[in-house]
Structures are given as C-alpha cells and as structure tokens.
Amino acid sequence: MTPYRPFSADHRSIGINYLLLALCAVTIGTLLSLFMRIHIIAPFLRLPFFGVVPPEGYLALVTMHGTLMVFFVLTSAPVNGFASLVLPSQIGARSMALPRLNAVSFWLTTLSLAVLLAAFFVPGGAPISGWTNYPPLSGIAAAGPGQATGMDLWLISIGIFCIASVLHAVCLLTTIWTRRCAGMFWARLPLTVWSWLTTAVLMFFAFSVLLAAVVLLLSDRHFGTGFFIPKGEVINGMMYDRLHPHADGSPMLWLHLFWFFGHPEVYIAILPAMGLATSLLANFLRRPPVSYRFMVATTLAIGAFGLMVWGHHMFVSGMNPYAGTVFGLMTMAIAVPSSGKALGWFAMLFQGRETRIRPLPSPMLFILGFLSFFVSGGLTGPILAQPVLDAYLHNTYFVVGHFHLIMAMAGVFALFAAVYYWFPLMTGRLMNDRLGKWHFWLSLLGAYGTFFPMYDAGLAGLPRHYAQLTGSTSTVASMLRLQTGITHSALLLASAQLLFLVNLFWSARRGAIAPENPWQATTLEWTASDLKECQVSHSPYEYRFDGNALSPVMQCSFQQKQE
C-alpha cells in the first residue's frame, strides 16, 4: 500500500483527502442542523457561536447546512472520494488516467469550501435564500441580510465547485474508458464502476449547466444584465430598475437551470451508493446479483431518465400545467428502474447463501439500513410525482422528510458502509465492529425518529424554512409538540456520530491489522499484489464453494493460471 501523501497526485491519497474534507463538512453541517433544530423549538435560547439566532440567522443556517451537505458531503465523498480511492484498482489500473487533473479538482474543491465558509464572517453573514437560491431574492443585495457579500461568496464557491466537479467527471470517464486492464470487458466491470460511470456523465452535464447559471446570476448582480430579474421589480418599497437599469428577465429561467442541475444532483449522490449496495450485498451474502444485466440496465435507465425529470420541482412554480403533466409522467417512469433496484437487492437477500457471515459485520448492517431508508424515503417519491398531490405537499415538511430519508440518510448510511468496508485500504486496519454496531443501531433509531415524523408535519401543512412556530394561524403553532420530539431525536442522531468519530480515530491507530482480503471479496481492489500483469478472467461476483468451504474467485487470475 502506498503511504498517504496528501500533496501528491496519488489517487489513493487524493481519495483520502476528499474523505477528510467531507468529514469536516459533515461535522459542520450537522452542528448547523442541530442549531436549527434547537432554534425551531426554542427561538430565544442562547446558542454557542451564534448567541440568540434571529430569523434570518435560521435561514442562513439552513442555506449553509444544505449547501455543505449536498455539495461537500454527498458529492465529494461518494463520487470524488471513494472513486479516487478504489476505482483505479477495481478496473486493474495503477493510477487515474489524468492524475494531475484529479489533484487539481481536489484542491479546487478545498478552495471552494473555504470560500463558502467565509460567508459566515462577512458583514450580513451567510446567504438566506436556501440552497436553491431562487432570484430575485438571490439576485439583489437589498433583498435581505446575507444577500450581499454572503451571496456573492456562495456563488463564487459553487462556481469553483462546478469547475472541480466537471474536471473530476472528465478524469473518471477517461480512466474508465482507457485504463481497464486486459480482460476487464464492460460486462465484467464491478457494479460500483457502472455507477461511477453513470454518475460521471450526470456530473459532467449537470455541473456545466449550474456553472452557467451561477455565472449568469453573478452577472445580473454586478454587470447590469437582466437574465433573472423582471422589469418593474420593487424591493423594500423601492423601484429596483431606477438604480439598476436592466433588461427584462424571469426567475423561471433560474429555476429551470438550477433544477436541471439539482435533480441529477440527487442521483449523483445516490447512484454510487446503489452500486456499493449491490457489491457489498454480493460480498456478504456470497452470491452474485440475480441478474448483473438487470442491475446495469437499471443504473443506466436511472441516469438517463434522471436528466429529464427536473420539472417535478416546479409543478406549482408558475410552469405551464401541461409541462407539469409531462414531468409528472416522466418522474413516475423513473420510479420503475428505482423500484427494480430495490427488488434486485431483496432478491439477493432472499437467495443469499446460508453460509454468509454471522453475525452480520457493520458494513453489512449499514447496507441493510441503506435499504430500509431507500424504501421508506423512496416510496413517497411516487406521491410527489403526482402534480395534484404535490400541489399540497410541495415545500412542506413532507418533502424535507422525503429527501432526508432517501438522499441524506440512505446516502450517509451507504457512506458509513463504505468507510467500514474500505477502511483497510486506507489504513491497513479494521474498524472496531462492536462500536460499529452501536453506531448503527443508535443512528437508525435517531434517523427514523428525526425524519419519519416530518411526513406527518408535512401532511398537516407545515411549510419548510420556517424559523419559528408562531404567527396568527393555527397550523404552525400546533406543530410544536411534534417538532420538539423531532429535535430530541436529532440530538440522539448527532450524538451517535461521536461513536463513529471515536471509532475512526482509534481504529486508524490501534485497530486490528487487516488481513489482505478481510471480507473475502472478489474485486480487484483487494489484491494487494502489483497489478502489472493483471489479466481479468472472471465476472465480478463469483463466490464458489468447494464442498462447504467458500472459495471466492478473484476477478483476476494471476495465481491460478490453469483456468
């Protein structure tokens, strides 16, 4: 194993860099979410760092929380981090095709994170328009505190992030295309690689469009263009056009550009998790997926449809209602390959070899947790795909519950599984399984307690982004008890992560030394030997049995030339 050299262009080191970056981001993002949760139920409580949070402070927290989590956690870790760490060895390559580009994209991402966090420290503070930043709120500095310098920093940060992500996508695509070793035909790629391939294509298109959108918005803010701001705009009772003459634009353009990025983005976050789930299930159940082709086909279908359903975020935004129909039907269509994936996993579970490992090791537990969240978050997707129902549920807590279960919790549980599973590749050691189990069960409990009741709050009509549960109407005030319960669960959920941190740092130094192939896997990242004369001769998940003894067949066969 190559030593960890953070400033090199070595792909493993860059992978670890990305994961450490994501760890920082997730730590901050989680703290911010706790501040939000506490603020909702106790608006006048004094919080560390922030003091008494004003309403715009809550919105700044939401915006930064969402941005950190979506970009710097769920994009940086599963795609950039783990792909850098294991993708080259999984396809039998010794390095990325463009190692320098890989390094450049990591350092740009770091710069982008620094710029984003700087928004907390400028006058006015961080932006308050949510991670979607709809104009004119995001287009005009006078629209609210945080919308001046804070908003500029957000846009610059995300612009840099887009460049880094497009570069990384190019790097992944080139590597998969050109660096597969002898015998690694398309039909022998591990399913994780198919996922990363699809994800990279989505990243390439989605982040290019977001970059364009961000540049246009910056130009509206500073160069007097009018892409997103209509004529006759009044802000704070003043005619905006008088001081800032501009052409006639429409915020709807931003919505389309943003969601053209935003929807693929959720697949960027979850596709690698899907590939991981299939691979780990195969490994721990000692059986291949029921149909490899079915798994590949559903991955590709999700990727392809994923680019065509962005309008489901816009049913009641002012979009033509006929467009709502088309996007509603397209979205329903994407539920089919997604359900297919879930069925594929359940089929594996039912047909698993009875010799699978007992008791289940922590990575497997986290994959089961991923499955559980994938179903409980995913099944509300078809509800939100029906425009007439979304017209009630849009922008309520129902949606917050939906995306936290399917994207945040499923995504994060898959990340945990990946960390527990691939930890030996980073440190040569295993993580502590006991602590891992405690971490799993407490997190599962906390996550369900936090996000499932949000469905109820949404059905009751509570809109999201509400800093306080006060006001003249009964709907909002009646939610206090439910929200208090949610906050307590969130505290449990966040505290459980301390176990993970302890486990991580302790195991990195003191964990049990890992054997060469600790999980008896069959994919190439577990062959420690030099991959120079690697010749792949097997499909990725062959778990055979000699009598009753498991004999996994490594994809590459340089030990057993006789076959």
Partner: protein
C-alpha cells in the same frame, strides 16, 4: 366502506379539514396512495427484519440443489429467479404506478388545464416581503392599473394603484381574503419583489407568486370557516411570519363585508 373511508379521512388524518370543492377527490387519492405505498413500505421493512433475524444453518446450502455450486450460475436457474423476484414484481409495481399517475393526472387536468369560468369572482393576490394583499375590483368589476413606481406602502398604496385611473377608484385592498361559500373564485397571483408561495392548506391550493408574471388558479370554497394562508416559498427573513387568513362566509355576509370595505375606501 366509503363511510369508513370518509371517517378515517376526517379523524386520524393529519391534514386540516378540506373546505373546497376539488379537495375531496385529491384527498381520496392521497389517502389511497398513503395506504397502498404505506403497506408496501411495511412489507419491505418486515422482509428486512425477517432477513436480519433469519436463523441460518451454516451447512444447509439448500438452494444449490443436486447441481451443487453450479446452481447459482446456471442460466435457467438465474432466469427463474430473475422473473420471480425482479421482473414480475416490477411489472406489478409498474401497473400500480401507471394507475396512480393516470388518476392523478386526470385530477390535475381538471384543476389546472382550463381557466376559471367567466362568472368566477375575480380577486388579485399580491405577495410582498412579508405581507399578502388581496384586491377586489369593486362594483365596476374591473381592476385599475398599477405601476411599480407608485408603490408606497407607508402612504397607503402598497400595490402602486394609479390614482389617475378611474377604474381603480372603487378597488378594494384587504389584508385578509374573504370569499363567499359556493362561488368559484379566480385568483390572479403576483409578487412585487421576490418569489412567494401562496398556500392555503384548507383549500388544497398552492401556487408560487413570481415577480414579472401573473398566475391564475381557480377553486370553489364550499364550507364556511377560517383557513390559514401561509407562505410556502422562502422569501427572506420574515418568511415564517408571512401568514394571514382566508375567511369563507355565506354569500350575504360577503356582500355586507364588501360594501363596508367599499365605503371605507370611498370615505378616504
């Protein structure tokens, strides 16, 4: 059965009671969705728990059968599994999703594809950070023109009504929405500054208010009562405060309310 359904909808249901004509059909569909998908959810979680708890006999490799370890890789066996566990259930789910989509799209089309009937009551809704304004056209049934440069809330002209326009003289501007029960209303929804979300949970109505454009939605309130109006699109620091009320009243009471407000305006 329908009675039981109605009972469940009215009692254990978390949603606020519906007061609109189009609401019950959408609620019924939502209820059906929640029950069917909820059952699927429970089924899936039960299977996961079952898999987790399943007792294993380390040496019982039953599925390998007489063909030994080849079983898993033999193509007929795999094909059988593919159909049994993946394709057939997937076809069933696809049919379910298709059914849901068709039912939902029919309701959507009924609510949104056509505009309001010409007799519908016209009311203009305007969102401004962090207030809703409702404008009624008055006896002449025509709205006066507004101009952005005339907007001046402290001087009592939050919408920028043009004083030179005679059609606007009788317009009524209110901060609560009062509607007569049983009459269709056509709301023209706009915003002066940023995007707001006009959300009336009790009417099952939501539509964003986007500056630069006017969106129309229409519905018929049926049950008199007080219904919260909320802002559902993040619009700045006062977003959570941007609440007001819809009062649905009998026709006669509505007439009185209108004439009182009209007179107040005239007296100014």
């Amino acid at each position: 059965m329908p009675v039981l359904g109605a009972f469940i909808i009215k009692t254990i249901w978390w949603m606020p009671p519906d007061g609109s004509l189009h609401g019950p059909a959408a609620d019924g569909l939502l209820w059906f969705n929640l029950v069917v998908l909820g059952l699927l959810l429970l089924l899936a979680q039960a299977l996961l728990i079952f898999v987790f708890l399943r007792r294993t006999h380390p040496n019982n490799l039953s599925e390998r059968g007489p063909k030994g370890s080849k079983g898993l890789f033999s193509s007929t066996h795999a094909k059988k599994l593919l159909w049994r566990y993946e394709l057939l259930p997937l076809i069933a789910l696809t049919l379910l999703y298709t059914g849901l989509a068709i039912a939902a799209q029919r309701l959507w089309a009924a609510n949104r594809f056509q505009g309001a009937s010409p007799q519908a009551l016209q009311v203009e809704v305007t969102g401004v950070q962090f207030q809703w304004y409702f404008r009624y056209p008055g006896p002449d049934a025509v709205f006066g023109s507004t101009r952005a440069e005339l907007v001046n809330a402290p001087a009592g002209n939050p919408l920028g009504l043009d004083p030179a326009d005679a059609r606007g003289q009788d317009d009524i501007v209110s901060s609560v929405l009062v509607l007569p029960a049983g009459r269709e209303v056509d709301l023209g929804i706009r915003s002066l500054d940023v995007i707001h979300g006009f959300f009336v949970p009790g009417m099952r109505v939501k539509q964003n208010a986007v500056p630069g454009m006017e969106m129309h939605i229409h519905f018929t309130p049926t049950i008199p009562g007080d219904y919260p109006i909320l802002c559902s699109q993040i619009c700045g620091s006062g977003h959570a405060r941007m609440q007001t009320h819809l009062r649905v009243v009998p026709e006669a009471e509505y007439k009185t309310w209108l004439s009182q407000h009209g007179r107040k305006r005239a007296a100014e």
